[in-house]
Symmetry: C2
Subunit: 288 residues, 2 copies
């Protein structure tokens, strides 16, 4: 049972965890925290949170579980604001898309990653945002990655794992650096490619005409380029090392592809395409 | 009215044109041509075609409209097979995704692009293929690009335009080279990127794990990597000049992105992302 859950950042991610734990009947009191009064009032009206404060120090008071669901760029300030105000038995976790930067922020604020802090990342989300978009089932059968450190308290880790499992999620653990590599490959690089491609086409002279002839495939391919630019700026900067490496490697591969194309090497091309199709079809089979 | 329509290659593209023109009541007789007997029998059973031949020369005999809906790699042989067997009033068009290569094939076979040949490209398709996937509405409100040459007969051009309009399509005309540039940008490059990315991830050591953490965005982004590898090999090779140039330029842009990332230039990054989002949202608004 959770005595008091503090959700710092009551949007899709934070709101959905609150709803899920409330529905499971495992939380007595939920306090929300954020800057936008209207959003917080809505969260109360929707029954997602019981009450709210704009002050992180006030919101975390007496909370035994704290979720940081704020943008990566606001993580350090949020940690700073709660320092010295946490309950003795408080366990803190976060939902940031990059774990290395959150760990660095924690070290900056606390001098080390505190034993009670369990870095985490729910691999879930929709194109919508804000508390109105939140729903209790968001995490059902979705993966949540926790990246505990050597200093992490075992009890704190188990507590966070338990909470996510109550939300219906499948929890796995991995090293911070490994998480950031995997996510760079499967999420951050694809976003970077989609943003870059659309921007590159938009800057072409006949861009209006170009988009006119884009068919369904283009639409799917570039859907993620409609994501929030500020959030993605933060994610890419926060994961600049892993993402930068992958970006360079991929750019080199494209130069190789250009060479294969120039040489008219249709056998090599077909091999690459066939291997990709097989991998994706396998992955989709598993996902559906 | 079309006296006899010859569909060379009775799959999604050819079958859908046959169905649409039949539904419009503007065609008296439809003959199909292909190598797969089972597929052609099915096409007859479905009423898509009236009868068929495996021999192009026989199929085009007496036809006043011929649609080449064969893979790009089979275009030259198909043109060669019909040479000397076309009716005097025959008009020929094709549905190839690249126009430069089809024009080159026509020049190779006929010494020039014959006045009766109108290169074309319907911007339509689904993930499915084969005559069973065909339907009369495929081209409704979709764009068809025709790329007539200076030598193209005006009457032939009008005839092809009329046929596509009867299918419900919006017909536009552009130069061969321009078509191939626009399609390289909006279709061929995105396919190349999706295939390359999935292949690149599949070749990583922990590829199974990587795909496990891929979420919805990745799925949309890579959907086109499930396309037919042989067809796409043909398309990419056929458009190697325009596509190769675009591929190199994009690879250079990714190197620039890596530099922006390394410098931690969040302002530049946000600008690119915001510009891309604005362009895509505009395009989607228009498409929906």
């Amino acid at each position: 049972m959770i005595r008091k859950l503090a959700i710092i950042g009551v949007g899709l991610i934070g709101g959905s965890m609150a709803r899920a734990l409330r529905d499971e009947g495992v939380v007595q009191e939920i306090v929300g925290c954020g800057r936008n009064r209207e959003n917080l009032e809505k969260a109360v009206a929707l029954g997602v949170i019981d009450h709210y404060s704009h002050d992180v120090a006030v919101a975390v008071r007496g909370a035994d579980l704290v979720l940081l669901a704020v943008p990566l760029g606001a993580m350090a300030d949020t940690l700073r604001a709660m320092k010295g105000h946490l309950a003795e038995d408080a366990v803190v976790t976060d939902a940031g898309s990059v774990k290395g930067s959150v760990v660095r922020d924690a070290v900056e604020v606390f001098g080390e990653v505190p034993p009670f802090f369990v870095p985490g990342h729910p691999i879930a989300g929709t194109e919508r945002s804000g508390v109105e978009a939140s729903f209790a089932e968001l995490y059902r059968n979705r993966r949540v990655i926790l990246t505990p450190l050597e200093t992490t308290d075992q009890g704190a880790l188990e507590r966070v794992e338990w909470a996510w499992q109550k939300c219906g999620a499948v929890v796995t653990k991995m090293a911070v650096e490994h998480h950031d590599e995997v996510l760079a490959a499967t999420s951050h690089l694809p976003h970077m490619l989609a943003f870059s491609l659309v921007d590159s086409l938009a800057r072409m002279k006949e861009n209006d005409e170009i988009f006119r002839y884009a068919a369904g495939g283009f639409r799917d391919f570039t859907r993620i380029a409609s994501s929030n630019p500020v959030m993605w700026r933060d994610i890419c900067i926060a994961n600049q090392d892993a993402l930068g490496g992958m970006l360079k490697r991929f750019a080199d591969e494209l130069h190789e592809m250009a060479a294969v194309l120039k040489a008219g090497d249709s056998e090599a091309l077909e091999q690459i395409f066939a291997r990709a199709k097989a991998a994706r079809d396998r992955y989709i089979d598993r996902a559906e």
